[in-house]
């Protein structure tokens, strides 16, 4: 972890309704950032919005010395972010957090993303390439599919409205797949109810699962204890850990889902 940097915006364009792809010039950070890590970004002016917003790495473009973050416009922070233009400086802190635990012993992995939760998984898909099956779920409009396919050929798509791929939830196709195939580990990112369903499916299939959690953050670096989430301690007791520093990636079995 180093101080915040002013990075240059290379591109900031919509890739689906409300979803933007932000390319930043950051050769040095590209070298260091791990899949699943995030950046804490000053989206607005001085005082409004006040706090930084956490956005994960989507993927790096090593040759260009660039990294790409993909975000959905949600409220004022991301709205401000979406108005940054090429050439603008952007105040970025990070990479932060632990990122996914990647080992060379994983021979077959599943990567499961829902909605904007797909964004943080693209770099990870690149790490596992052919060893991964990627499950991507959308409400209707899809995005980042090409980027995923370039990195990891086996991409299965589910849409709630059935416009592309399987009609229904991505967790359905995952659960089905888990019955027939064996994975060394499952990586998941998306809305909490989806993660909970993935965790449940993995528990049943006796597969280890890493989930990337979200929580409202203030500092983003571990100092304020503002982003706590409850995990089970080794003795089964509940304990609060920091999503920003101890996470955002946790083993699904640690997480207190019904909290």
């Amino acid at each position: 972890m180093k101080g915040p940097k002013m990075l240059k915006v290379i591109e900031n364009k919509p890739i689906a309704g409300y979803v933007y792809s932000l390319k930043l010039h950051a050769p040095e950070l590209c070298e260091r950032v791990l899949p699943g890590q995030f950046f804490h970004i000053k989206c607005g002016g001085d005082k409004f919005p006040l706090l930084r917003r956490p956005i994960s790495l989507s993927y790096t473009l090593m040759e260009e010395g660039c990294m790409v973050l993909v975000y959905r416009v949600q409220g004022q922070g991301t709205k401000n972010l979406s108005s940054r233009r090429p050439g603008d400086p952007l105040d970025v802190l990070g990479p932060l957090g632990n990122g996914f635990e990647i080992t060379n012993r994983h021979q077959r992995v599943a990567i499961v993303g829902g909605g904007i939760g797909i964004a943080p998984l693209v770099e990870l898909a690149g790490v596992y390439g052919k060893r991964a099956v990627v499950f991507a779920g959308f409400r209707d409009e899809t995005f980042l599919i090409e980027g995923l396919q370039q990195r990891s050929p086996d991409v299965r798509i589910a849409t709630e409205d059935g416009s592309v791929g399987y009609k229904g939830f991505v967790t359905d196709i995952l659960a089905q797949h888990l019955k027939e195939h064996r994975f060394d580990v499952v990586f998941a990112c998306g809305p909490r109810p989806m993660l909970q369903r993935v965790a449940e499916a993995c528990r049943k299939a006796l597969v280890m699962c890493q989930v990337s959690l979200e929580q409202r953050m203030a500092c983003g670096v571990g100092a304020c204890l503002g982003c706590s989430c409850a995990v089970k301690d080794t003795d089964g007791s509940l304990q609060y850990v920091r999503v920003c520093k101890d996470g955002p990636v946790f083993w699904s079995e640690e997480v207190c889902w019904d909290e």
């Binding site: 101080g3 005082k47 500092c219 571990g222 204890l225 982003c227 609060y240 520093k245």
Partner: protein, 303 residues
């Protein structure tokens, strides 16, 4: 131009500059210590600790409000013993002046902590009086002058370390409360702590914070903080550590002009991790431009 004497004497301490961190926004210095050397700060005020470890409040614990934020961390901390054993040595190694913010549910708990801290290398102790007092049916110590007087006096009796009394702004008369801290023997007062507040999500129809209420901090509260600092500094002869919404050196200068002898930077750390050191530099430049030879000459220098 001549350099400015940045040092300040406060509560019997000589600080190399007037800029501290605000308790609870800086952890035990570990995280922000990666951005710059902690010994550059006037003092590091560490996160509030209690006699026993505490788990804190259920999430969500933070949310943003217009030009401010709410927090309801609920004093999650590993307890005073762990602090003395694991955190303090690391901080002292780095050359930091360490002020320990302590919270108790009873006066005895404050005293017990003071006794444990007394023989350690801490520079001073800051009493956080915003926590509910179990003896008084959960009313925070900081809301009643007699309670403030009592806990200050008792803690002072437990040791020789300077005692800074951190006041809650959620009171009718801040001067009366500060005066009680002074009468009780407090060496300085810190103000302000957070304003009790809440936010509501109209989609879920629930309070945003897991704990319903939380503390408001950040630029939004600065005008209230400045007023309280000004009131106390005008009325009483006790050093004031000013805080509440300081984002940059201009804000810090306002507090010093209002009468604060030192300032603490809280929420701003989250916005700009380098805020405290940027602020030190900014104060120095301002003092130079305005022809002050020392920061102490700036204290209360409203025209």
């Amino acid at each position: 131009m001549n350099r400015v004497d940045m040092s300040v004497s406060i509560a019997g301490l000589k600080l190399k500059n007037p800029v501290m961190t605000a308790s609870g926004t800086f952890g035990f210095g570990e995280e922000y210590g990666e951005f710059y050397e902690l010994k550059r700060l006037g003092a590091v005020v560490v996160k509030g600790i209690t006699l026993k470890p505490r788990q804190g409040n259920p999430p969500p614990r933070t949310c943003e409000t217009p030009a401010g934020m709410l927090n309801s961390v609920g004093l999650q901390n590993p307890g005073v013993d762990y602090f003395l054993e694991k955190e303090l040595p690391r901080l002292l190694d780095k050359g930091a002046s360490v002020i320990v913010n302590i919270s108790g549910a009873t006066v005895d708990e404050y005293c017990a902590m003071m006794e444990k801290l007394e023989p350690s290398g801490v520079a001073a102790v800051e009493l956080n009086l915003s926590c509910p007092n179990v003896r008084e049916g959960g009313i925070a110590f900081g809301l009643r002058p007699d309670a403030v007087y009592d806990v200050t006096r008792r803690v002072k009796e437990c040791g020789d370390r300077p005692v800074i009394v951190k006041l809650s702004p959620n009171v009718t008369d801040i001067v009366e409360i500060a005066s009680a801290a002074k009468e009780g023997g407090g060496d300085a007062v810190s103000l302000i702590n957070t304003l009790l507040a809440m936010d509501i999500d109209i989609n879920t129809r629930k309070p945003v914070l897991g704990n319903t209420y939380g503390g408001l901090s950040g630029p939004a509260v600065k005008p209230v903080a400045l007023r309280m600092v000004h009131q106390v500094a005008e009325a009483l002869d006790i050093p004031v550590i000013g805080m509440g919404g300081i984002l940059d050196w201009r804000d810090a200068v306002q507090f010093i002009l209002a009468g604060a002898r030192a300032v603490a930077v809280g929420t701003a750390n989250f916005v700009n991790p380098l805020a405290p050191v940027d602020i030190i530099d900014g104060i120095e430049k301002y003092a130079m431009q305005q022809g002050f030879s020392s920061v102490e000459a700036m204290v209360g220098a409203l025209l």
